[in-house]
Structure formats: structure tokens, C-alpha cells
């Protein structure tokens, strides 16, 4: 690839759209993936992840929008001229060819010399730790091994972009975690721009540079794992990733020194925000259970928000306790506490639940964030 293109985004989608009959599978997607970046499309089944990937790959034609690979418009290029490495959910290995032949396929199509093909195939198989299994047919390989062949086959052609569609969902838990870190390591080492599709939030959180959370054909929010988890742009994002407490709230006065007072259903609250909230806005305050801490009434630290709560139940989870609470307005909430042995919260106790100004995040009721999101 010419030097000049290296500065271009590896992938740029603008206004990408696809309808199937009356149903809109993908609605106006914008996305940029930088060179070397690992971006995950995360969303529930049917939200349009595969359709998006298929349009990038050229397997289906978009109804609208543009696709650029390394700065080059590819909407009119057939799949075999897009130079992409793709790993499919079912691996899509060629059943009539052995592991080495599967890996060699893309190189053969590129008409490379036999000796170079052999060398690169051997390298690729070693890279995914499959050396010695090169003569095995796909059906003679385990799920994890097939996965590795698929990965080697996609990477050996040194594609400009790697696309992975739920590559781990057919593996059992232990193997899944192993492959997760293996793919991450490989991706970093090769520095290859990657679009990874999953409906598994753990995969998304642990592997990605950035996550695009999708819902009904749209990208609901895009950002780092931390952005997505700690500053969710919508109720959907807040509840799809991890669990969260949502409390109705309204701004209760002008901000001072970056601190914004709120009136909530559970009591007054103070947030640290870098932007003001629209006066009178209907908000949902999102607080992760692990950020909500319990303390005897009146003992919360200065400058924090403390709400009176009643303890409804305690679930023992080993390393931590899940404590069911009832807020002042009678609505339920959940707090997680480290299991430090001495904790003696019992159902029926009254306590204060408190959090710091940085530990909660306002979401505009009805979807979008308050505008304080990046």
C-alpha cells in the first residue's frame, strides 16, 4: 500500500444504509477505524452487525452511503478485490481442503510463487500455534483449532482490514477466553485495523480500543470501553452493558466549580460534569451498583451524595455481596459490596447509600445523553 494512504483511516463508513423489504437492517451508520485500531460492533442479535460487515466485505450492496478502505471508495468493487481478511462465525473453512491448503488459498488466488506460499503458510500456522496440524481436514480439528485456521487464513494475505463476525460464540467458555486474548495479542502485534462483531459485552470491553454500541441498525454510542461503561449515552447503552441503577432526576440549580446539583426521586444529588445541563431537563441518573456504597446513616463522606435507603435483601456471590435496596421514593436499587467478612448488612436495616460526584452519569430521559458526552 502506498505510503500516502497510511494516514488515511483504514475504514470509513458514511451514511451506510440497508433495507430488506420494509425492514431497515442498517440505518445511516457512520464509523471510522484508524490504522491499527480494534473497533467492536456490539449489540443484541438482529441489530444489523452482520449486515454492516457484509456491506464492508462486499457480500451485499448498500442502499445508500459510502465505504472507504484506506481512503479508496470500494462500493463498486466485488468482494474478491477488496483485500479484506474475514473470519466467519462458523469459520467457513473449506471442508475438502486441509489446514495448510485452507491457509494457502488466498495466496494461491494471488498467484504467488509456490515456495513463497509454502513459507508464508508455515509462518501463519506457527503464528496461531497450529504447526504440525497442517495436513488435517477441518472436520479433524477441534473448534478452537478451526478457529485458528480461519484466523491464519484471513491474516496470511496481509489484508488492510480484518473483519471478525462473532468468531468466539461457537467456543466453550474457557476456550473463548483463551482465544479472546490470543486474537487481541495477535492484532496488536500485527498492528492490523480490525472490526470485531459481538453481542458479548465482556468480549467488547476487554478487547476493543473503541466500541460502537448498535441498536436497531444504528450506532447508539461509540467510544472507549470506559466511555461506554461510565458515560453511557442512552438508557439502552447503560442497561445493555453491565447492570445499572436508574433514578429520575432534574437539574436543581446552576453549576458551580464543575459541580451540578440535581433533585432526584431518592433525594438531592451532586454530580461533576464538564458541561451544563439544560434547565428543566428530564434526566435519568445512572449509577453502577459497584459505585453505590453503604454506610451507617449520617456517616457518608463530605461532598458526596448520600441517600437514605432500606436494605431489602443480601445475596452472597462469593467475592462480593449483591444488596437489594429500596430508595426514598420506594423504587428498587442494587449495590455491590466487596465481601470483606465483617459486613453485617441485614434485610430491614436502614442506612445511607452514597456516591462521589464522578460516580454517576446523567442520561436524558427518552434516549440521548445530556450533551455532556464527548
Amino acid at each position: 500500500m502506498p505510503e500516502g494512504r497510511m494516514s488515511e483511516a483504514a475504514l470509513e463508513l458514511r451514511g451506510l444504509e440497508k433495507r430488506f423489504g420494509a425492514q431497515t437492517a442498517v440505518a445511516a451508520i457512520d464509523l471510522q477505524v484508524q490504522q491499527g485500531e480494534f473497533v467492536t460492533l456490539l449489540g443484541p442479535s438482529g441489530c444489523g452487525k452482520t449486515t454492516t460487515l457484509n456491506m464492508i466485505a462486499g457480500f451485499i450492496t448498500p442502499d445508500a452511503g459510502s465505504i472507504r478502505l484506506g481512503g479508496r471508495a470500494v462500493e463498486n468493487l466485488p468482494p474478491h478485490r477488496r483485500d479484506l481478511g474475514i473470519v466467519f462465525q462458523d469459520y467457513a473453512l473449506f471442508p475438502h481442503r486441509n489446514a495448510a491448503e485452507n491457509v494457502a488459498f488466498g495466496l494461491r488466488m494471488r498467484k504467488l510463487a509456490k515456495t513463497e506460499i509454502a513459507a508464508r503458510v508455515a509462518d501463519a500456522l506457527r503464528m496461531v500455534r497450529l504447526d504440525g496440524l497442517d495436513k488435517r481436514r477441518p472436520l479433524q480439528l477441534s473448534g478452537g483449532q478451526r478457529q485458528r485456521v480461519a484466523l491464519a487464513r484471513a491474516l496470511v494475505i496481509r489484508p488492510a482490514l480484518l473483519l471478525l463476525d462473532e468468531p468466539l460464540s461457537n467456543l466453550d467458555l474457557k476456550l473463548r477466553e483463551e482465544m479472546r486474548s490470543e486474537i487481541s495479542t495477535l492484532q496488536r502485534r500485527l498492528g492490523i485495523a480490525t472490526v470485531f462483531v459481538t453481542h458479548d459485552q465482556d468480549e467488547a470491553l476487554t478487547m476493543s480500543d473503541r466500541i460502537a454500541v448498535m441498536r436497531q441498525g444504528r450506532i447508539e454510542q461509540i467510544g472507549t470501553a470506559r466511555d461506554i461503561y461510565e458515560r453511557p449515552a442512552s438508557v439502552f447503552v447503560a442497561t445493555f452493558i453491565g447492570s445499572t441503577n436508574l433514578v429520575r432526576a432534574k437539574p436543581a440549580g446552576p453549576p458551580s466549580e464543575g459541580l451540578v446539583p440535581l433533585a432526584t426521586a431518592a433525594g438531592p444529588a451532586i454530580l461533576r460534569l464538564d458541561r451544563p445541563l439544560a434547565a428543566g431537563a428530564d434526566l435519568l441518573l445512572a449509577i453502577r451498583p459497584e459505585r453505590l456504597q453503604l454506610t451507617p446513616t449520617g456517616t457518608a463522606p463530605d461532598g458526596s451524595t448520600a441517600w437514605p435507603v432500606r436494605i431489602e435483601g443480601v445475596t452472597y456471590l462469593g467475592g462480593r455481596l449483591e444488596i437489594a435496596l429500596r430508595l426514598a421514593d420506594g423504587s428498587p436499587a442494587t449495590a455491590h459490596a466487596m465481601n470483606l467478612g465483617a459486613m453485617a448488612w441485614q434485610p430491614g436495616h436502614v442506612a445511607d447509600a452514597w456516591f462521589r460526584p464522578d460516580d454517576a452519569w446523567p442520561i436524558l430521559d427518552g434516549g440521548a445523553s445530556d450533551g455532556a458526552a464527548p
Binding site: 466485505a57 462486499g58 457480500f59 473449506f94 488466488m109 481436514r137
Partner: protein, 270 residues
Amino acid sequence: MRRPVSYLALLAAVALIYLFMLGPILITAVVSFNRSDRSYFPPRGLSLHWWGAAFTPQWTGAFVFSLELAALSAIATTIAGLPLALAFRSYEFPGKAAIQAMTLGPLVLPSLVTGIALLQFLTLAGLGSWIGLPALLIGHVVICLPFSVRTIAISLASIPVSAELAAASLGASPGAVLREITLPLARSGVGAGMIFAFISSFDDVNLALFVSSPRQTPITVQIMQFLEFGFSPTLAALSILSMLVPLALVALCGRVVGIGGYLQQEQGHA
């Protein structure tokens, strides 16, 4: 252990079915070794005389013609059936339903009717000179095409679409995908369709009765015509021969093309 009555009944039914299926064939085979010129069973004395009579030009000519016709039919049917099956699978095009119906239609039509129709058509179209090999070939392709398209379609349907997409993403042009992935993976269906066409053509008498010419007559029609003068042990020998050819072919191609064997081998190692 006491076996239930229903089990014994099933056993009896199966035995009867085999008896009725294989019995006549065995009897025919034995009859062909008669010394007498009548078809006695059990035979009165043994002789290879009638087998010798079967290997005279009158019969071998028709036999070879049948083989040639069957081979041509199998090839032509596959050449027509493969693109049809591929198109039916991959494309939506105007008139697809109609073409599908036309392709699969002869399946429900007695080949006798197809034969009469073909004869009338050729006569009306002034193509009477086609009667003989060309007409037989056309007729057999029409009869065999539904089976060929079906079996190829079934094996195409078993190919994971993602394998073809993967090949394309790895740089394979549509032609290369067909050559490298689709056809190799569909070969058992193509092979089965081909063998089926060969056997259907070789066995056919209904259609061939109408469009054979005196010089181009398949063995089946020849036997039919000879039967008008009565049965001779030669016919028994010929029948056995005509039966062995398709059987041998199935056995042979089963190995070469690997119908089913391909899959068994894969699973055997899994």
C-alpha cells in the same frame, strides 16, 4: 427372549419383498444356462450356448449403442443440469418459476407420453431424420434432467454459503469460487446425477420404442422386438448382461466419484 409378533410379521414382509424382487432375477439367470431351447426352470442340462448367441453382432451392436447413448445422455444431462441448478440456487430472474416447472415437469409425466410427444413433434417439425440417436438423446435428456437438477441442487444446498463468501474474500473471482469450492463440494451430487442419467437412459424402453430407428436401436427395444417371436434363453442372458452394466457402473463410480464415501471418510476421522 420372546420376539413380539409384530417383529416376526415385519421379518416375513421383508423376506417376501426380497423374494419377489430377487427371485425373478435369479430364475432368469439360471434359465440362461439351459441346454434346451425352451426356458425351463430348473434348467434341463447346462450350456453356454445361449450366452454365445448373445454375443453375436445383432445383440452386441445394440448393446454398444445403448452404452454410447447412455454415456452421451449422462454427459448432456449434466451439462444442462449443472448450470440450471446453479442458477436456481443463486439467482432470481424473470420466469424462474416457469423454467423450474418445465425442468422438473417430466418427472410426473410417463416417459411413454414424452416419447409419443417427441415423435409427433419431430414429425410435425419436419425433423423426421432426427429419429434415431439425436431424438433418443433429446428424449433421454428431457427424462433425466429433473433427477440431475434435483441431485445437484441437493448437494449445492449442503455447501455452506459462508465457504463461498470466504473464498471470494480471499481473492477468488466468481469463476474461481465455482472451480475451487462449489464444484468440488457438489461433486457427489453431480456424480450421482450423472450415474442416474446413465442408468435411466440405459434402462429406458418406453421412450425409445417411439424414436428408435432400425439402425439405431438400444438393446432394450431390441429385446422387446425379439420378444414378439417368443422367449429364448438368449434373452435371459441379455437381460442379465443389461442388469450387470448399471450395477457395475454404480459400484465403480461410487468409488471414483465418491458418492457418500466422501462424507463417510470425513466423519470417520472426526
